[in-house]
């Protein structure tokens, strides 16, 4: 296999920013042509659910219920929903600390996630992981990882295990545009290409690594083009257009299933809030820039308008979905509020397997110290 761009090559970043309508190729891709009206509505519903959850998260953070660092996904919903919607049951996902948006499409519930944000015992990680560390291995969702780029070798490792065991499937490893400059990522790319591991690196390029724009942080453009140095395929995707995300991710998946070779997709997207909740978002971009994107390129509005235009859904239908999502998020908030914090004894649980499974214990001696 020689390095080459995928056929569904999107316009470059600059023009992608200015294009609001779907490309014919994306809409006509078989994976999208096969979509029944209810499935289209479900894509919209999933995006709206993420946003509703995140709006509640913002409020709960401001009210002091959520601690530490909390990175919201508002503005990027089409990326996670579009991606996960074309996975098969043998595919895996691992992501960054901006992980709320991937959790729900992967099958996690709002209750367990909101409770995790609150540090409650009913949280998906019993309140031990927090915002950046959601996990659902039973749903092939391998987390939420806090160190920029730290998950990129893990994604290759998941793909390694898939291949070692002779299983079908690929691993989608999400990352931000800031992670492309981490050494671990480049080591992972080299090994994934060298060993032909079925991993797809999905760069969610929201244009800012924390408060540093791409031009100030990364040499060379586009970021995905670095794949060529490793003999890997790559493609660009307009992330606000969910059908295009679906078409391109599906093409990438089929490629990795078949060849076991990795590739890189760079998805142009945008976050509406600061890097994390502790970022006042006042120094590195203008309010006008955010407003302009929200008005012209919002992924939910864009898809909603397509569905309305195609008579798949009415304005009332959208409202109903929004109300239901709001209600679901409110219920999650109540659930989190009413849930207990973990008991103090939990501090030393889940550190060592055998301490928590005494029947399997083979070690002696002391594992925890004063």
């Amino acid at each position: 296999m020689r390095s080459q761009q995928m056929p569904l090559q999107a316009p470059d970043l600059k023009s992608a920013y200015n294009v609001t309508l779907s490309t014919e190729a994306a809409v006509n891709a078989p994976i999208n042509q096969a979509l029944k009206p209810e499935a289209k509505i479900d894509l919209l519903r999933q995006m709206i659910r993420i946003r509703a959850f995140e709006e509640k998260t913002v409020r709960a953070y401001q009210q002091g219920h959520i601690g530490g660092f909390c990175h919201t996904y508002i503005g990027q919903e089409s990326v996670a929903v579009g991606t996960v919607s074309v996975l098969e049951e043998h595919d895996h996902v691992i992501t960054t600390y901006r992980d709320h948006g991937h959790a729900f499409p992967m099958g996690m519930g709002m209750n367990e996630c909101m409770a995790e944000l609150f540090g409650k015992y009913t949280g998906c990680s019993k309140g031990k992981g927090g915002s950046m560390h959601f996990f659902a291995p039973d749903k092939r969702f391998w987390g939420g990882h806090g160190i920029v780029g730290g998950q990129t070798p893990l994604g290759a490792g998941i793909a390694f295990a898939v291949k070692y065991q002779g299983l079908k499937g690929s691993c989608l490893c999400f990352m931000g545009d800031g992670a492309v400059n981490q050494g671990a990522y480049h080591e992972a790319l080299n090994l994934a290409a060298l060993w032909e591991l079925p991993v797809i690196y999905v760069i969610e390029n929201n244009r800012y690594s924390m408060g540093t724009c791409q031009a100030s942080s990364s040499a060379g453009n586009p970021l995905a083009k670095r794949a060529e140095g490793y003999g890997m395929n790559w493609a660009m995707v307009r992330g606000n257009h969910i059908l295009e995300v679906r078409a391109q991710i599906r093409a990438a998946l089929e490629y990795t299933w078949e060849t076991h070779r990795p590739m890189i997709l760079e998805i142009d997207t945008y976050r509406y809030r600061g890097h994390s909740m502790s970022d006042p978002d006042q120094t590195y971009r203008t309010k006008d820039e955010i407003a302009a994107y929200r008005t012209a390129h919002d992924p939910i509005l864009l898809f909603q308008n397509i569905l309305k235009g195609d008579k798949v859904i009415t304005a009332e239908g959208v409202e109903k979905i929004e109300e239901a999502a709001e209600a679901e998020a409110s219920t999650a908030l109540d659930f989190a509020l009413q849930s207990p914090f973990p008991p103090e004894s939990e501090i030393k649980r889940d550190v060592y397997w055998e301490e928590d499974h005494p029947e399997t214990k083979t070690s002696q001696g002391t594992l925890f110290f004063n």
Binding site: G150, P153, A161, G365
Partner: protein
């Protein structure tokens, strides 16, 4: 019984466990075709093939991270670091991903992985190649840390480590690779967290790990012969979990303790041991706890000086005599 080297003991342990469980595989630099930089994996490529004996590029963060990802999925990788000094470029993967995964996921995921390789000074390779990070690793809840001193211990501990469901770091020693000890013909495992009294004595207890055990045993012989001092030498074998009972029992018997390690002194393993002994056996002590560690500077290259920098039988004897 048969006599084998520390190096062969490690290889036998890996080969036996790979035969027993096909989820176990070995990856690292030069482990396959080259037969291992220190020949620990000699012959394994021939025996198990390239699917399970995996040569990696010089890319510690990358391949240790891949092994951790594979372990999350249920494989049981053994990662060889050519030396633990080279693991420092993979530190994020080891201490953030391997050590924390189980905790951050509330117990949903575990990482059954072995990180192994030599970690020692004394071979004139300078500061960058002579790190002894057992204290750093043992400082991370979630990791287990093992430092075998003999071939017998190396085999039994390695087999247990491979079967453990959490990350275990095995710190070997290139100077010990050719040392031989007797091992039984039948299979045996040594539990982690079980110290071994390598020499019984009644006047003073030396607690050591890794090659410092061998150094201490030599010192104990000199002390017995030349000074009629009867020294008990305890080999920790495992740093975390730690066998507190064996240490304390010996302290209650001899009432004097010297701690010996090739680690640097500040925040070293023995700092924790000193705290433990004063906390739990203060009234049993007839003298302050004494220490012999590596001299507190980056590891020196110059051959005669490096000998002075590491604990030697002479330094240990001197320290014991100074305890009065």
């Amino acid at each position: 019984m048969r006599l084998i080297t520390y190096r062969d003991a490690l290889r036998e342990a890996m080969a036996e466990e790979m035969t027993r469980d096909n989820r176990v595989m070995l990856m690292g630099e030069e482990v396959g075709l080259f037969d291992g930089a220190y020949k620990v994996s000699q012959g394994l490529l021939k025996q198990f093939g390239p699917k399970r004996i995996i040569d990696t590029p010089i890319s510690e963060a990358g391949f240790s991270g891949i092994a951790i990802g594979a372990a999350m999925m249920g494989l049981r990788p053994i990662v060889e670091f050519m030396t633990w000094s080279f693991a420092y470029v993979a530190f994020d993967q080891v201490v953030n991903n391997a050590a924390n995964m189980r905790y951050m996921s509330g117990g949903l995921i575990n990482v059954p992985i072995v990180f192994r390789g030599p970690a020692n000074g004394g071979v004139n390779v300078g500061a960058t190649h002579s790190h002894t990070p057992e204290n750093l690793l043992a400082n991370m809840p979630g990791l287990k840390v093992v430092c075998p001193a003999t071939a017998y211990d190396a085999k039994g501990l390695m087999k247990t480590a491979i079967r453990d469901n959490d990350p275990v770091c095995i710190l070997e020693n290139t100077i010990l690779y050719n040392d031989k000890s007797e091992i039984p013909d039948e299979e045996y495992l040594i539990p982690l967290g079980l110290a071994d009294v390598k020499r019984e004595g009644k006047d003073l207890t030396i607690v050591a790990h890794g090659r410092a055990v061998i150094t201490s045993l030599k010192a104990a012989e000199i002390l017995e012969k030349e000074y009629k001092i009867s020294v008990e030498v305890i080999d920790l074998r495992s740093i975390r979990p730690l066998d507190e009972e064996t240490i304390l029992k010996s302290v209650r018997k001899t009432h004097r303790v010297l701690l010996v390690e090739e680690n640097k002194p500040f925040c070293g393993v023995d700092a924790q041991l000193a705290f433990l002994i004063q906390e739990k056996a203060f009234d049993d002590l007839d003298a302050p706890i004494a220490r012999v560690s590596a001299i507190d500077a980056p590891q020196i290259y110059s051959m005669p000086l490096e000998k002075l920098q590491l604990p030697s039988p002479e330094r240990v004897v001197k320290a014991v005599l100074a305890m009065g």
